[in-house]
């Protein structure tokens, strides 16, 4: 059982990041659940989603303590850092989250997701940069398998661009160096 929370501002694509993870996990033969949590705002409020990925039946879809936290902003770290299991993974968007001391019993990967997505001219792809770092840091799936899943996800929506995969791969590379 792997439990993951993706969290950030509404509009940072955090629910989509979780959805992509859930979809690829399902296609990879896993049991999955995805539970959203957000305010009434379309943008700017806090949003998060809780994803469980398992080889066996998922009982409660809710998450209190998680294996992995994908944090797009400061508020996400404030809210969830203390609930990551010891030895768990925290992916931090260092374009926005700066000058913080994280728990020492976590594997923390700081990746400048927002800046990288801007450099790659795919500003809405910061969530994919974060996913790349998360897949690399957790080893949840082979990075290339997951990259193909991202392409398939956006192809199915009829609006893929090679920049999506580039953003994701940049995240993988950033976590490799970290």
């Amino acid at each position: 059982m792997n439990s993951i929370i993706c969290s950030g501002f509404g509009g940072q694509g955090i629910l989509t990041a979780g959805l992509i993870l859930a979809k690829i996990s399902m296609d990879g033969g896993k049991q999955v659940s995805w539970v959203p949590s957000y305010g009434s705002e379309m943008r700017g409020g806090t949003a998060s989603c809780a994803i469980k990925v398992s080889d066996t039946e998922i009982y409660s879809p809710f998450i209190k303590e998680m294996n992995t936290l994908v944090a797009m902003n400061e508020a996400s770290v404030d809210q969830f850092e203390s609930l990551v299991k010891p030895g768990g993974v925290l992916i931090s968007n260092s374009t926005i989250i700066q000058g913080r001391t994280f728990r020492s019993d976590l594997k923390v990967v700081e990746v400048a997701a927002t800046a990288i997505s801007e450099e790659l001219k795919n500003i809405r792809g910061a969530n994919l940069v974060m996913l790349g770092a998360m897949i690399q840091a957790t080893g949840l799936f082979a990075p290339e398998f997951f990259a193909d899943g991202i392409d398939a996800y956006f192809d199915a929506k009829g609006r893929n661009t090679p920049l999506n995969r580039e953003c994701y791969m940049a995240g993988v590379a950033a976590a490799e160096q970290a």
Binding site: M26, Q31, V32, S33, W34, Y59, S60, K64
Partner: protein, 355 residues
Amino acid sequence: MALKLMKGNDALAEAAVRAGCRFFGGYPITPQSEILEYLSKRMPEVGGHFVQSESELAGISMVHGAAAAGFRTMTSSSGPGFSLLQEGISYIASAELPAVIINVQRYGSGLGDIFQAQGDYFQAVKGGGHGDYRMIVYAPASIQENVDFTTLAFDKADEYRNPVLVLSDASIASMMEPVDLPEMHEHDPNKNPEAARGKGDGPFKRITSTMYYIEDFDTYVKKKYDTMAANEERWESIQVEDAELVLVAYGITSRICKEAVMLAREKGIKLGLIRPITLWPFPAKAFKALPDTVASFMTVELSPMPMIQEDVLLSLDARKPVHNFLAGMNIPEPIDIVEKAADCIKQTAKGACNG
């Protein structure tokens, strides 16, 4: 088997379409509005009809009419909107017409709030409308069950010529899980022998000008609901074979209780779980079949006051204590359920009563 990752409300709506539902009338309210959104797009694709009615009362009345015309038909609502459906549901039951009603439960009385809850239990299972009728009430606990029980609801509505309720909640509505959707099922209202077709021409078509009950209606209607009660109980029992305390929970709460049972067993605490799948008829048979090891029960409910407790006590002839874990507006933690259950096991051993 191609699985699809779907949101609870969307999956439920698609299941209705695949069950042959071709008329939906209803009014938006959170947390069930995606059902309308989905069907507003989907119904025209399959030659069906979607009406966003001016109110819930209009919606349920349109459903009444569509059912009379032989359609498979559905409406959905939540909280205050579900209250507004009650008169229409009573009329549909009285007319012995099949229809599927969805209540995606939200918290509280009055306006309440939009998050998950299980406070509509009494209204759902004891009959929120006036008069002598009951509805089969299904309580799905997953997105797949949203699909399976919506499909079943249409079949049972036809079988008994009675409205059937699917009681979801805000968490099942918004979460996503993989689902295996059934094949498309066609239901042609023009080939439905029960469909009313009107009589004569002009603006004043009518079938009957009087409303009266058949001879010995009391016996007839009692037999109908007795048959449903006897044949339609559904439940799931988990690890009750040697349990000391059995949790009772339905819907999303039952999944948290399943986790609590597994956690308790790791600690050597003998918990079991009865999950009612039908809330009416309440699965009394599940309680009659328990071993003597079971000394007490604990309901786990997303409500500030006990509701299922009443039906558990009736099923037990009030012979054993029934405790409650009332989570109210909070989603309970499995460990908290285990701790309270362990405490109840001790209390029961000391001879304490309900509470």
